[in-house]
């Protein structure tokens, strides 16, 4: 009998084993494993959920029940860059809705849509904890604070033209940001390589260029 994740990359398989060992109860690894599965399959697929289910010994239905509860698990393909625009109250007050419109316009999509070149998806999100630097935007969950509608257009164009391998928050902030919630301190070496949070164990963080 072969492992349910035999089709995953070597790193993905290794991370899965680490995650399974991390918790007192394997089931706790469902959420991190779903991120790894997203990375392997591009988004959360039925196959990915079945694999995760088999890894932890629950039913695929139970995994799907979890995977559809949280907004960061994408069940449809998304672009290489997931642009999330906040329109919750503080961002709303300072122009978040205009930033959203501008980003959609630049990408040529409706809210939630993916551009024709499959590069950019623009979504509306609720508060991402950057209210002091409103309006805020994330690209593959890497944050930019103090974005204007004009900067949002520049951001989309830049993503399409430069297609960065790694999305680095400090670089984006420099190029397209403004007012910050607080001093960010030393620049962060790690960034995102996919629309999955760039957090070491999930495999999307990579040393900057």
């Amino acid at each position: 009998m072969s492992s349910p994740i035999a089709t995953w990359s070597a790193e993905g398989q290794e991370r899965a084993q680490q995650l399974l060992a991390l918790y007192p109860d394997k089931r706790s690894a469902v959420m991190p494993l779903l991120y790894v599965a997203s990375l392997e399959h591009g988004h959360v697929t039925n196959e990915g959920m079945q694999q995760v289910a088999e890894l932890i010994g629950v039913t695929a239905t139970q995994v799907r029940s979890v995977a559809t509860f949280y907004t960061m698990y994408k069940h449809e393909p998304v672009g290489r860059y997931l642009v999330s625009v906040c329109t919750s109250i503080s961002c709303h007050l300072l122009g978040g809705d205009e930033v959203l419109d501008a980003a959609c316009g630049a990408a040529g999509v409706e809210v939630g849509g993916t551009s024709e070149d499959d590069l950019v998806t623009v979504e509306r999100v609720e508060c991402i904890g950057a209210c002091g630097g409103a309006p805020a935007v994330q690209v593959n969950y890497e944050l930019i604070e103090g974005v204007t509608d004009i900067k949002a257009i520049d951001l989309i164009d830049w993503l399409r033209n430069t297609t960065p391998e790694v999305v680095l928050a400090d670089e984006l902030q420099q190029l397209f940001g403004g007012q910050k919630s607080f001093d960010w301190g030393v620049p962060e070496p790690d960034g995102a390589i996919a629309p999955v949070p760039a957090f070491g164990p999930y495999g999307s963080a990579e040393e900057g260029r």
């Binding site: 919750s88 007050l93 999100v125 919630s181 607080f182 301190g185 957090f199």
Partner: protein, 429 residues
């Protein structure tokens, strides 16, 4: 003015307060060394209790008292709530990013006091950078022997790891957070049993906010009574306030409670942008009913806020100036709660979305005068009597939170709501 407790290091070291070198150089982990060498777990718990610090996650429950409820049966767990998702709130993010070792030292002290050997830091999924910084700090702490087996040869061991959320505000509610950490849907549990008795994996568990635990090193170092002496009696200590909206200087401010709202908005946050007039503000995160200029001179304490029919909640103050369309603002908040409802209980699942739908219809110019009563009555069916603190037909307070903006705009800005209703729809016309 008292010196800041939580932000002193990051203010003094604007670039690298997150590194272990800087932390050690500025006295970090000294408290831990001393405590493990010379204090019993009970003594630490005593200091925390004496500090009178009330939890900074929103509910304001005294931390030392909560610790006292932890059932004595192993294994037990400590879970740090870093889900911070309440609109307007961004203080924990700063503590995680800029001083993760302060949190870790607090976790080790708390775990030692509680007899816990396994702790989790639950960080919202949209915070990969804070999570990375915390993870790096954890790795450093392991390396230096502040975490792991037999910490500093004290015989005490502790494992800590970061768990990233998946995008769900409700996971800030502590029992939903535990479900999420167990690999389930983030649905709040019925209480009782409370987590201190049956929490993570049905074991005794303490859940504390990032800011709450970040205070522990200072409290243990300086004594609980010194902490209790700061600020008003029932709102002791310093506290992080997140200011946002139409103020000149948005940001996090660590202040001593007891000052007035006027002080906070006009002094600390530098007043309203472009010298406009203040219209209203949200005093404690999106869940809180709003205040208006007549309340500017009320003191900023947990109890005074209750008297005014609102709360300090998560310490998020969102300021709106005279140009604000309060109906749109209310809609943004109601939409938030409808989007974030876990959906398990009927009034919240159906009611919050219905409120959102009605507001959207009103904003489209399709409102009817009776929609105002309808908004209030639907709100009443989620939070009977629309009193404070809110009564609930729901399992958890998320549903009732969605009624706060409805209540606020109909109470203070009824004319503006009515202005959206076409003349033909107003009764008698």
């Amino acid at each position: 003015m008292t010196d800041p407790i939580l932000t002193a290091r990051m203010e003094a070291n604007r670039t690298d307060s997150n590194t272990i070198d800087r932390y050690l150089e500025t006295g970090g982990y000294e408290v831990l060394k001393n405590a493990l060498a010379s204090m019993t777990p009970e003594q630490i718990a005593e200091e925390v209790k004496a500090s009178n610090m009330r939890g900074r996650g929103g509910a304001g429950f005294p931390m030392g008292v909560k610790w006292g409820f932890l059932a004595d049966s192993d294994p037990k767990y400590l879970v740090i709530n870093g889900d911070e998702s309440e609109p307007g709130t961004f203080k924990d993010r700063q503590l995680l990013e800029r001083d993760p070792h302060q949190l870790i030292e607090g976790i080790v002290l708390a775990s030692y006091a509680l007899g816990v050997n396994r702790a989790f830091i639950y960080i919202r999924g949209e915070y990969p950078k804070p999570a990375r910084r915390v993870q790096r700090a954890i790795d450093e702490a392991y390396e230096k022997g502040f975490l792991g087996d037999d910490i500093l040869r004290s015989g005490f061991s502790l494992e800590v790891s970061v768990h990233l959320g998946g995008g769900a505000y409700i996971c800030g509610e502590e029992t939903a957070l535990l479900n999420s950490l167990e690999g389930r849907r983030g649905e709040p549990r019925l209480k009782p049993p409370f987590p201190a008795v049956e929490g993570l994996y049905a074991r005794p568990t303490i859940v504390n906010n990032v800011e709450s635990i970040s205070n522990v090193p200072w409290i243990v170092a300086n004594g609980g009574t010194s902490y209790a002496a700061i600020g008003p009696e029932r709102s002791a200590g310093t506290r992080m306030f997140s200011l946002s909206g139409h103020v000149n200087k948005p940001g996090n401010y660590e202040i001593v409670m007891g000052m007035t709202w006027r002080d906070l908005i006009y002094d600390v946050a530098g007043g309203i942008r472009d010298d406009r007039a203040l219209k209203t503000w949200i005093p404690g995160g999106a869940s809180a009913p709003w205040l208006v200029p007549e309340h500017l001179d009320a003191p900023l304490t947990i109890d005074d806020a209750t008297t005014l029919g609102t709360m300090l909640g998560s310490g998020a103050v969102v300021v709106m100036d005279e140009t604000t369309d309060v109906v749109k603002a209310a809609h943004s908040i109601v939409r938030f709660f409808a989007h974030e409802s876990c959906g398990q209980c009927t009034p919240c699942r159906e009611g919050t979305k219905w409120l959102q739908d009605i507001l959207e219809r009103i904003l489209r110019g399709e409102g009817r005068e009776k929609d105002i009563d309808l908004l209030l009555d639907v709100s009443d069916n989620i939070s009977p009597g629309l009193t404070w603190p809110p009564a609930m037909t729901t399992i958890c307070p998320l549903g009732p939170s969605a009624t706060a903006p409805i209540l606020s705009i109909t109470r203070y800005f009824l004319d503006e709501v009515k202005a959206y209703i076409p003349v033909s729809e107003v009764a008698g016309v």
